[in-house]
Every structure is written in structure tokens, then in C-alpha cells.
């Protein structure tokens, strides 16, 4: 066993968790990000004769990262067999699907263009009758090369590439990027900057979780629930526009300082509206609880257990709905989440019902957090010198879909390599896993119970 594998294996034994892997810009080395509570460490291994040892047997969550590093940077992973293409779409079906053999299995191909207003991606279902045996998800149709495009940009300008990766996670990605840059520059946000960013992150979670509940209703064709929560989502976006001038909070995060100021009338109006959204969303949620035909669809499908979460590296609401009390907010020293405690549902079954309930529980936390954070005006703020300068910085932020990490390797004041690993990226393998053994008509609902982005996976 190589020294690199031994180090990573020992770290995993000591409670460190795999949190990402990427190749350097020139493909000369591979770095593995490990996290434990609020700490992170990077383990680097040089590429030798075109490859490095694979980690997939130690940490199955590394599967997609290794496939991506191969396709985009040409790195081989010894021991990762078969190393199926992930970003590379040039190879035929046999190369990227898992062979499924037997008497009756056949394939159902869906996408990349879907029937509704949905992002582009392809799912290949291997089914017998209506029973799903296996799903191969082929994403990266929307790969724009944003990480590559960011290379050479100033650290300040690079935030545009991180935030434009995905509108639904724009604040999360931008804050993770800003944290990474500030980590590399030896800067620490002052308390006002930490509060400003925390407000933005929770505003993003507010509309996003409301949207997820609307989407689940749409997934079973419950128009009244879908419309009710879509209207609440709209109110969340209007609140964003009132506070920052943009419905998705674009342009409100910058490196080294704050782009958000809120005066007394603004925060007063915001708190009134947030409380009104809280009352109306709790009322609408209660109605969903008493809708038997809706509730009948939710339990015992799309199950991801706590053991699956650990193995597959699932994060965020998907992990917490399985009873895994992990939430980066509880260990975010650069943000204003003092005393934050993750919640899990009472019935943490890791199924569609639990994931939906998880959103409702987290919304209550978000309403309370925002009410507290907005109790006084937000003034100018900055990041202050407070640590050592480094060539590589790491930022970790809890997005509405789970832990997002951003790594910035810099050369002076410019981006040499940007890696963004979002909550959606971590969770997609769990979606495919959760779908197996379920009925094909339940897949839209299972998929919507995760409600992952394609854009910030594809980048």
C-alpha cells in the first residue's frame, strides 16, 4: 500500500471523512480533502506514470471525483476498475452503464431533455416490468468548463464563476469561494461580515426549501400543494429582491468584504414578511400532513439509511433525514451560527417522507435564525488579517442540499485552480442508489425528494 493510501486510510479510521478529491490544474498531482468537525486537511499525491492509487475501496464517495479527474485532467486511478466516464460523453453505452443481465430486463432512457421545466441530464433505467433494478445517471450535459474558465482570474473576479455555477446555490458557492480565498490570504471575516453572509445563506435556504416542498407536491401531481408552496417560493424571491436587489441574491457576496448593507426600515419589513411566510408555510404544511392521498405516496420509497449515507458520502437534508446529525453550520467558525444544533426528524427513516419532513423542520430553524440575525441593521464589514497566508485555501458551507466545499489554489492574487464540490455533487450517487428496487413511476418523486441541482454538478 502506498504512503498516500496509508495516510488516508489511517485518517478515515481516526474519524476523518472523505470530502472531495481533485487534480491540480496541470494534472501533475491529486489532492484529497478530508474533514472532521470544523477541521480540514489536504493529502496530496504526485501523479506517477499517469496515475495515482485509487481511494474508492477506502471511501466509495470518491468514485465520482476520481472519474471526473480522469476525464478532465487525464489522471488514471490504479485500482478503480472499471473507471467509467463521467464528464466524457464520447464513449458508447457499454462504457458508462453497468451491465444488467437476466431474462427480462430492459432499459428505459430518459433525457437529457425532460418533459417539464427541468435541467438537462440523462437517466438510464434498467427495469423488469415496473421495478427498477439499477439506474445509471449521466450528467454533465451542462458542463461549461467554469472551473477552467476561472483559472487566471483575480481572486476577486473568480467569485463570478463560483456563483454562476448554479443560481439555486449562488450564495453558498460564492461564500464557500470567498472563505477559500480568505483562508489562503490569511483573512478572517469580522463578526459583521459573518452575520451578513449568514443572512444571505439562510435567505437562500428559505426559498430553496419552500421550492423543494412545492416540487415534491408536483412530483405526485398535487396541484394545490404545488401552487401553495410555489406562491411561498415567490414570496421568498421577492424578499431577496427587496433586501439585495436580486431575486437569487447575485452579487451580494465578495471576497474580503461585504456587499450587503441593510438599514432599520429594511430589516423591519423583512422580519415582518419572514414571520408572515412562516405562518403561511406552517399552515400549508399542516394541510399536506392531513392529505391522506399525498401522505400515502411518501413512506418507504427511495430509502437511504444512515449506513448508506456514510458509505456513499451523502450530505445535507438527505443525510439528516436518515438520522445522521451532520450539518456544517454547527462547525462554521467563519459564519454566525453560534450554538446551532442540527435537527433530524423523529422518524428518521431516510425515505421520501423523512426527507420532505426534514425540509419543514429546517425551515423553522431558518425562520428563527433570520429573525435573530435581522434584529439590527447590517453595516459595512470586512475580513481582517488573522492567519497565515497559504497557496491553497479551503471553504466549507452548508448549502440547502448539503455540504459544499470550495478549494482555491492561487498563484499570487490569481486563481490557479478552482474546485467546487457541491451538496448536489455529493448526493447524486445516493439518488441513483435510492431508486433501485423501487417502481419506475415513483422515481420522479424520489428524485424530487432530493431536489438536487444539475448545474452546480456539471459546472
Amino acid at each position: 500500500m502506498s504512503a498516500y493510501r496509508e495516510t488516508v486510510a489511517a485518517a478515515l479510521d481516526e474519524g476523518w471523512r472523505f470530502a472531495g478529491l481533485h487534480a491540480s490544474a496541470d494534472g501533475s498531482c491529486v489532492r484529497t480533502l478530508l474533514a472532521r468537525d470544523g477541521s480540514v486537511r489536504l493529502e496530496t499525491v504526485d501523479v506517477s506514470e499517469g496515475s495515482v492509487p485509487s481511494l474508492v475501496d477506502l471511501a466509495p464517495a470518491a468514485g465520482w471525483d476520481e472519474r471526473e479527474a480522469h476525464d478532465l485532467h487525464g489522471v488514471g486511478f490504479a485500482g478503480h476498475e472499471p473507471l467509467r466516464p463521467l464528464v466524457d460523453h464520447d464513449l458508447d453505452l457499454a462504457h458508462w452503464t453497468v451491465p444488467v443481465r437476466g431474462d427480462d430486463p430492459y432499459q428505459v432512457a430518459v433525457g437529457p431533455i425532460h418533459a417539464g421545466v427541468i435541467e438537462s441530464g440523462h437517466f438510464r433505467f434498467h427495469v423488469v416490468g415496473e421495478r427498477i433494478l439499477h439506474v445509471d445517471a449521466r450528467l454533465f450535459y451542462k458542463h461549461r468548463g467554469l472551473e477552467r474558465a476561472a483559472e487566471g482570474a483575480t481572486l476577486e473576479d473568480g467569485v463570478a464563476f463560483a456563483s454562476r455555477a448554479c443560481a439555486a446555490c449562488a450564495v453558498t458557492n460564492a461564500v464557500a469561494y470567498a472563505h477559500a480565498c480568505e483562508d489562503a490570504l490569511g483573512l478572517i471575516p469580522d463578526p459583521e461580515l459573518a452575520r451578513a453572509r449568514t443572512i444571505l445563506l439562510e435567505l437562500e435556504r428559505l426559498w430553496s426549501h419552500l421550492n423543494d416542498i412545492a416540487a415534491a407536491c408536483a412530483g405526485v401531481g398535487l396541484a394545490a400543494g404545488n401552487n401553495g408552496f410555489a406562491a411561498l417560493t415567490e414570496r421568498g424571491r421577492r424578499l431577496n429582491a427587496a433586501l439585495t436587489g436580486h431575486r437569487f441574491l447575485f452579487g451580494s457576496v465578495r471576497v474580503g468584504g461585504s456587499a450587503l448593507t441593510l438599514d432599520e426600515p429594511a430589516i423591519r419589513r423583512a422580519r415582518v414578511e419572514i414571520d408572515a411566510i412562516r405562518v403561511d408555510s406552517q399552515r400549508a404544511w399542516r394541510e399536506l400532513l392531513f392529505n391522506a392521498s399525498f401522505q400515502d405516496r411518501l413512506p418507504e420509497i427511495g430509502i437511504v439509511t444512515a449506513a448508506d449515507v456514510e458509505r456513499l458520502g451523502a450530505v445535507g437534508p438527505a443525510a439528516r433525514a436518515a438520522g445522521v446529525e451532520e450539518d456544517v453550520r454547527a462547525v462554521s467558525s467563519r459564519l454566525a451560527y453560534d450554538g446551532f444544533q442540527p435537527v433530524v426528524p423523529r422518524r428518521a427513516a431516510g425515505d421520501v417522507q423523512a426527507r420532505l419532513e426534514q425540509r419543514a423542520l429546517e425551515l423553522l430553524q431558518t425562520y428563527a435564525l433570520l429573525d435573530d440575525l435581522l434584529s439590527r441593521p447590517v453595516g459595512p464589514a470586512a475580513a481582517e488579517a488573522g492567519g497565515a497566508e497559504r497557496p491553497i485555501g479551503v471553504g466549507r458551507v452548508e448549502s440547502p442540499r448539503g455540504e459544499t466545499s470550495c478549494i482555491v489554489e492561487r498563484r499570487g492574487e490569481r486563481v490557479e485552480r478552482l474546485r467546487l464540490r457541491t451538496g448536489s455533487y455529493a448526493n447524486w450517487p445516493a439518488v441513483a442508489y435510492a431508486a433501485a428496487d423501487n417502481l419506475l413511476p415513483d422515481f420522479p418523486l424520489i428524485n424530487k425528494s432530493f431536489e438536487l441541482c444539475y448545474a452546480c454538478v456539471d459546472r
Partner: protein, 151 residues
């Protein structure tokens, strides 16, 4: 359920949307050719109670075979290029193409030349341009209504 429906009815009354004077319709097929998901999220809310574009006969249809308008978001990525053309070629004539959002119009943070073909215009004849990053539901609604009037 009844409470939910009653709340929705009240909401619709409070929003007081104007009643449509038009008696025509336009079937839309949306294709995400490489967006950041912002245009999709706004387009979804165009059907929500605050805008309710269906009342003007504007609906998103499941197949390009049923569509009058191809509504394309994002810069066109190399990986979506072929699928976009398949969707366009599946549409009956007459057909229109609408480019939704700054990326589709080729003026945003797009990506690298090897991963992105370019704007929608670089690939298909564009009839309607809807700028914005992303365009608000109001702006989307306005542009689509102008299109329905111009038919």
C-alpha cells in the same frame, strides 16, 4: 386540502391578475442547453399563482412535437448541442425559437471555448430575445405575451 384551496383562492383574489382578453394559445417546449438553473427556477414560477400564464393559453408541453415555441436557456454546451437540434427538428412548422436569459444571448459568464458552442443564435435562428440574469417571471411573461400577439 380544503383550507389549502381556500387559501389559494384568497391569494388569487388578492393578487387580482387581469383577465385575459386573448383567445389564442401558444405551446412552449423548454430546453436547458446549459443554464445555471436560474432561468428554470424563474420559468417554473411563471406558472405559479402570482403570474399564472396558463390563463393566456401559454403552457409548457412535454414534447417538441406539440410545441410552437422552443424556449432555450443557457449558453449551448458542446454536450447539449446535438439534443437541442433534435428537439428543434422535431417541431412542426411554423415554429419559433426564443432565447431566454443573458447566457442564451451570449453575454454572461459562460465557460471555456472547448465546452461551450456559444449563444443560441450561433446554433438556431432566434426570433425572440429575453434578456436578464435571470429574467424575472414578469419579463418572461411579457415577452411570451408579445410573441402570442405577433402570431
Amino acid at each position: 386540502m380544503l383550507t389549502l384551496l381556500r387559501d389559494l383562492r384568497r391569494l388569487r383574489r388578492d393578487i387580482a391578475l387581469e383577465r385575459p382578453a386573448r383567445g389564442r394559445s401558444l405551446a412552449i417546449r423548454h430546453v436547458d442547453a446549459g443554464s445555471c438553473n436560474g432561468c428554470e427556477h424563474e420559468l417554473t414560477l411563471v406558472s405559479s399563482p402570482y403570474y399564472d400564464l396558463q390563463r393566456f393559453g401559454l403552457g409548457v408541453v412535454a414534447s417538441p412535437r406539440h410545441a410552437d415555441v422552443l424556449l432555450v436557456t443557457g449558453p449551448v454546451t458542446t454536450r447539449m448541442h446535438a439534443a437541442l437540434l433534435v428537439a428543434y427538428n422535431a417541431m412542426p412548422e411554423p415554429r419559433r425559437v426564443a432565447a431566454l436569459g443573458d447566457c442564451a444571448l451570449g453575454c454572461n459568464v459562460l465557460g471555456t471555448a472547448e465546452s461551450v458552442v456559444g449563444s443560441v443564435e450561433a446554433v438556431l435562428p432566434v426570433d425572440v430575445r429575453i434578456p436578464g440574469c435571470p429574467p424575472t417571471p414578469d419579463a418572461i411573461a411579457q415577452a411570451l405575451l408579445e410573441l402570442i400577439d405577433s402570431r
